[in-house]
């Protein structure tokens, strides 16, 4: 059997990292939008 374990581990680590990074990017973008919405809604009610 060919010794290909390094490639196998690399593929699983890279794919897992991509999925996690994308999920984190969604969380970070959504948090920014919610913070901006909060700020605007507060400034709207203070008027």
């Amino acid at each position: 059997m060919a010794q290909t374990a390094g490639y196998y581990h690399a593929a699983y680590i890279v794919a897992g990292t991509l999925y996690v990074l994308y999920t984190l990017s969604l969380v970070i973008r959504r948090r920014r939008v919610l913070q901006r919405l909060d700020a605007l809604e507060r400034s709207g009610t203070e008027r």
Partner: protein
């Protein structure tokens, strides 16, 4: 005329816990990670465990063959994602329903993620098996072309400010891009190519032993759940961006 998303889109309409509590302006922050993301993460962990510890390696390729359980589900989910872009873009052009445009945008972004995984895991498998990271054969080149089309789709969306114009142009590109998918699937039959022939999605029975086939189906279903969870989260972000743009517009109009 475009059907706008009116009112305040509740996060529960996109499946999350309701963000807004009734009462004197008291407002709780919606959860940034919901049950769907957690369920998808658990499903992928279960798939990884099954692949690593409970599925035998292939006799000649060794452990590199197990890359297949990541590569094929990512490819099929990319097809699914761009298929959804195709359908929702047609719905947008037909009914001018803004939510269809937002679903198309969300699905295109997640589809691009899956295509990126395909384009990275493929060469990692190819290096030990073919002896090269990349070859310009039909399947690989068309998949790279698909990646560029949907990267262009997202760039186009970022470049056009006017919402209805952005939705119309990107719907046309989204439909044209998805027309490439049947051609990519058939490319191994139409051209002489290094890429293996389909061993599951083919007219006769899958040519995989049952334990490998079951692991592949398990992994595919886990990544379908990942697709649904990510599109749902991305769609919710789009709804909140629409709400933010509307609020900014109304505040500027009031000045």
């Amino acid at each position: 005329m475009t059907t706008p998303i009116t009112g305040r889109p509740s996060t529960s309409s996109a499946g999350g816990a309701d963000a807004n509590t009734a009462g004197d302006g008291a407002r709780s922050r919606p959860a940034l990670i919901d049950g769907w993301i957690v369920a998808a993460a658990l499903a992928v962990i279960a798939a990884y465990v099954r692949i690593i510890w409970f599925t035998p390696p292939e006799a000649t390729q060794g452990l590199a063959q197990k890359i297949y359980y990541l590569h094929l589900p990512a490819a099929l989910n990319a097809y699914l994602a761009f298929g959804v872009v195709f359908v929702t873009s047609i719905v947008y052009l037909w009914l001018h329903e803004e939510r269809a445009d937002l679903v198309a945008e969300s699905s295109a972004e997640v589809g691009l993620l899956f295509t990126t995984v395909v384009l990275i895991t493929g060469p990692i498998w190819a290096k030990p098996i073919w002896g090269t990271w990349w070859t310009w054969d039909a399947r690989l080149t068309l998949t790279l072309f698909l990646w560029f089309i949907y990267a262009g789709y997202l760039l186009l969306r970022g470049a056009i400010v006017e919402p209805s114009l952005r939705a119309r142009y990107s719907a046309v590109l989204g439909i044209l891009g998805a027309l490439l998918i049947p051609f990519i699937h058939m490319s191994v039959y139409l051209f002489r190519t290094l890429h293996p022939m389909p061993i599951v999605l083919k007219p006769d029975r899958p040519s995989l032993p049952p334990e490998m086939l079951h692991t592949l189906i398990f992994s595919f279903l886990a990544f379908v759940l990942v697709y649904l969870a990510l599109v749902r989260a991305r769609y919710r972000l789009s709804l909140e961006r629409v709400r933010l743009a509307a609020l900014e517009g109304s505040l500027e109009g009031g000045r």
